[in-house]
Symmetry: C2
Subunit: 329 residues, 2 copies
């Protein structure tokens, strides 16, 4: 592999990808809208000249990262995959049966050299780091998930808006609207991420259902989710209630299993005030897991736990980066 | 009823109680620590001279509101209840079999004139407004609850700390500690409210379990909870996954039921961006309920919904106020 492209390099995920690439020996083409083209981008210890997007330039690359909208990906994804391996961060192709949806530590071995690969939704990717090993060990029967999602999922301007609104906050009044969220997010929580589906779940909630099933290879797995935006900057948290087919004999065994799982950091010493939090998981590559306890309803067949992971890293760019490492070119 | 006392009048709950009392014909004694005694308190359109707490002064009152710590309540509660009806906002007596735990719209009819009455935990009181009518209609089998709890639950100084930290926030760094929470709360979520029990649940989580069972009169009801502090000011939110004994034939029926329930406001028009949020439920007497949908696992036997209610009003002072209205003195 010699040459890669990052399309959408000025967005939150694109920038994080460039940070991850760091001072690499790879040649990296940075592409964005014509508005940004020609500007210089300093990131990850390197200077990049932003180029306008072009199919021809992408075709000279071994791997093309699409950190752009689903509409853009739908329009160009298959065309780009004629000549390059395309790793698409949008949801455009995730549910297509022929497109692998990869979380490398969990289902990376299922990759068979396809040219179009989907990167999962951030909430899915973060949950899967923990659900993967638990499912393998105890057989997941059902998962009930409530999320605490950061502003970064709505992009770079959303993070700025939240910080400015929080700084200038006086009191709750009439909804003063938002450029980036369904409502003002400062000192608020919003139980809507993405648009609503006919079944009254949001698309974000259904993405988690569909993607957990696809990555775990369990197309009928019982999952229910509530996706909520909270006023944090770039780490999601999730409250998980899990039911298993096999009984769990000791929490210590669960802790050992998760401590050894790739991409997972066990942060589970509640008496010492240690548990997963956005404040501590931000900028971390690993997903924090803690508050591990037997569920009060399911007893030894159930676990409750709390996780937190950086939405831009594990939830997006880092997973895409790890997909690239699977690609043999 | 002629004369009441508010003990702990300078705290967040005490002040909210005085606001609720407003320009009443009742004589109101305001009591606080010797440190505050002698100061003038302007609240609810009235001026109050703060008195030091005294058992003798309380004994001249028909009703005594205890808006103080559990230790204080344990020390004085039973003594005060010799001469006055004591409505205690702490958890000191909530689980005592002889002490009624009242949420008036739900189990107010069970009140038999006891002199010591417990006011529930805020998360419990808010959830019960919605769980009560649903349990009555469909028979609750299990409840899985994740909370999004505001700073106000940790008191007035906690709300100030959150606002100041949010205003001065630069970046996530090392935990810079907190005077009021287990960690800094600005742009963070903390999966710890109250201390940890032996079963690794927090006391806040177990309070919800115990109190839902007691108020609904179902001592073995299956409940599991995760209590999380989020950076909002004074309204809690909760994500509820409920399983029922009887099938639910239409969501429209559920909406009608909840729209007519006392103390509940149906806010459930997701396509129009209307659902419960701290921003809109703050300062409201009613608990907002919305995001009502069939649970993806339990089908017609399950509902997922989202609620939000003012922690200081419905979660504390307003419930205590409604308990006072049950007292015939």
């Amino acid at each position: 592999m010699k040459r890669i492209a990052v399309v959408g390099c000025t967005g939150a995920v694109g920038l994080t990808m460039l940070e991850l690439l760091g001072p690499t020996e790879l040649e990296v083409l940075c592409m964005a809208s014509p508005r940004s083209a020609g500007k210089l981008l300093q990131v990850g210890g390197r200077d990049y000249l932003i180029e306008p997007f072009s199919v021809e330039a992408c075709a000279t690359c071994d791997v093309v990262f699409l950190c752009v909208s689903g509409e853009f990906a739908l329009k160009y994804g298959e065309q780009l995959a004629q000549s390059s391996v395309v790793i698409d961060n949008s949801s455009a192709f995730r549910y297509h049966p022929d497109v692998p949806l990869l979380v490398p530590p969990i289902n990376g071995k299922s990759y068979k050299g396809e040219y179009l690969i989907a990167n999962p939704n951030c909430s899915s990717a973060i949950a899967l780091m923990v659900l993967g090993p638990l499912h393998q060990a105890f057989g997941l029967e059902s998962a009930i998930i409530s999320t605490y999602q950061a502003a970064s999922g709505a992009g770079q301007p959303a993070m700025l808006e939240l910080r400015e609104r929080a700084r200038g906050f006086e009191d709750y009044g009439l909804d003063n609207g938002s450029e980036n969220f369904a409502h003002n997010l400062a000192f608020n929580v919003i139980p809507q991420v993405d648009r609503f589906e006919d079944n009254l779940y949001t698309r974000e909630e259904m993405k988690v259902v569909w993607e957990l099933r696809k990555v775990l290879g369990e197309p009928r797995l019982a999952i229910s989710t509530t996706a909520v935006r909270v006023p944090t900057l770039r780490s999601h948290a999730e409250s998980l209630t899990l039911k298993f087919k096999q009984p769990i004999h000791s929490l210590e065994g669960v802790r050992r299993l998760l401590a050894e799982a790739p991409g997972v950091e066990l942060v589970d010493d509640p008496a010492a005030g240690r548990y997963p939090m956005p404040m501590t998981s931000t900028y971390k590559h690993a997903v924090e897991v803690g508050r591990i306890r037997f569920n009060l309803i399911y007893g030894q067949y159930g676990l409750d736990l709390f996780i937190s992971g950086d939405q831009l890293l594990r939830g997006a760019a880092l997973n895409a980066f790890e997909i690239m490492q699977l690609v043999k070119r």
